[in-house]
């Protein structure tokens, strides 16, 4: 099943468009094609929607002469959480209600410099020359604040029976 929200589109140095590059298929990164790519795009497949129900945006970048296009997806997971019912019982269980999400990055690499343009599933777009994807990190943090763990049922404490008093003791 296709999981990525995007195809890639490469416009080559002679103006040829190579569309619908399936980034989930092994071998999509044809070196001859990448070497000639001058414009590099993320094109929504139309099969996925963002967290707010909108369609993913199209993102296009220029590839400088001598640079090669790159692609990466980054998955952000917040599914390990800790809770405990008492001091001596410690458990880490997943956030059942917090979805992992994927951000998509396209960019170019020339020498030691890599410039990324990331798109997050809330429509945020960021261009950076570091390895960090701050829109993804910020979205992860945001989701962690508005979702919560499914509580695990805890065993009921044993009920202590009320001492019964023989009513005859109160007579007379």
């Amino acid at each position: 099943m296709s999981e990525y929200a995007y195809f890639a589109n490469a416009t080559l140095d002679d103006g040829t468009d190579i569309g619908a590059i399936d980034l989930e298929e092994q071998g999509w990164a044809s070196k001859p094609m990448l070497a000639r790519t001058r414009r590099w795009s993320l094109v929504p497949k139309g099969t996925h929607v963002m967290l707010d129900g909108r369609q993913y945006p199209m993102v296009t970048i220029d590839i400088p002469v001598g640079a090669k296009p790159v692609f990466r997806s980054r998955v952000f997971v917040g599914n390990i959480t800790g809770r405990s019912s008492d001091q001596i019982e410690r458990k880490v269980i997943p956030h059942l209600s917090v979805p992992a999400f994927r951000v998509y990055g396209i960019g170019w690499k020339k020498g030691s410099l890599t410039v990324w343009t990331w798109v997050a599933p809330n429509g945020a777009v960021e261009t950076t020359s570091s390895d960090e994807c701050w829109v993804g990190t910020a979205l992860r943090t945001h989701l962690n604040t508005i979702t919560w763990e499914e509580p695990e049922p805890e065993p009921e404490p044993a009920e202590e029976e009320e001492p019964t008093i023989d009513p005859r003791l109160n007579e007379g």
Binding site: W28, R74, V77, R83, D86, V92, G136, R140, E154
Partner: protein, 170 residues
Amino acid sequence: MAATVGVFVYTGTNAGTESTVQTGISFLSIDSNATDATTRQNNPVVAGTTSFEKHLRLKATVAPSVSWGNIKFWTDGTGQANVGLRAKLAVGTGGATPGTGDSTPTASAMTGDADAYSYTSGSKGTWDATASIGGLNTVSKALLLQLVPTGAATPGAWAQETLNYSYDEV
């Protein structure tokens, strides 16, 4: 096809025994990947002691189109008073499951570890810097976690913590 990457717990000698994919982990006073309430109640982490280390690796159960890696780990930066959470990142070697170079889980205080809460969104820890771990059934380096409730830990519910990680896929 996009990869499927899950959390696995490793127990036993050199943490060489792999669990099934985990939907949760428990901190216990035994070396176990069990997550049920009965096991926790029978093997509690007594205040003033350390839990058995929990050895985690990520594993690709569905192959990526090319590879996966570059794993980061972080927390929100704060925890509950007197209940420490320690982390030791990038332990052993990844690659073919179950990986190599890990140690046998113990309940002794870890060495070479750090406060897990020191890894934050602005200062992520590197769980595994390897850019290309591999394909199907490859695992990352290990992340070791250990709960450290001091003797002064307040009885009652432990404030919920969310631990985050990210990985790249190409």
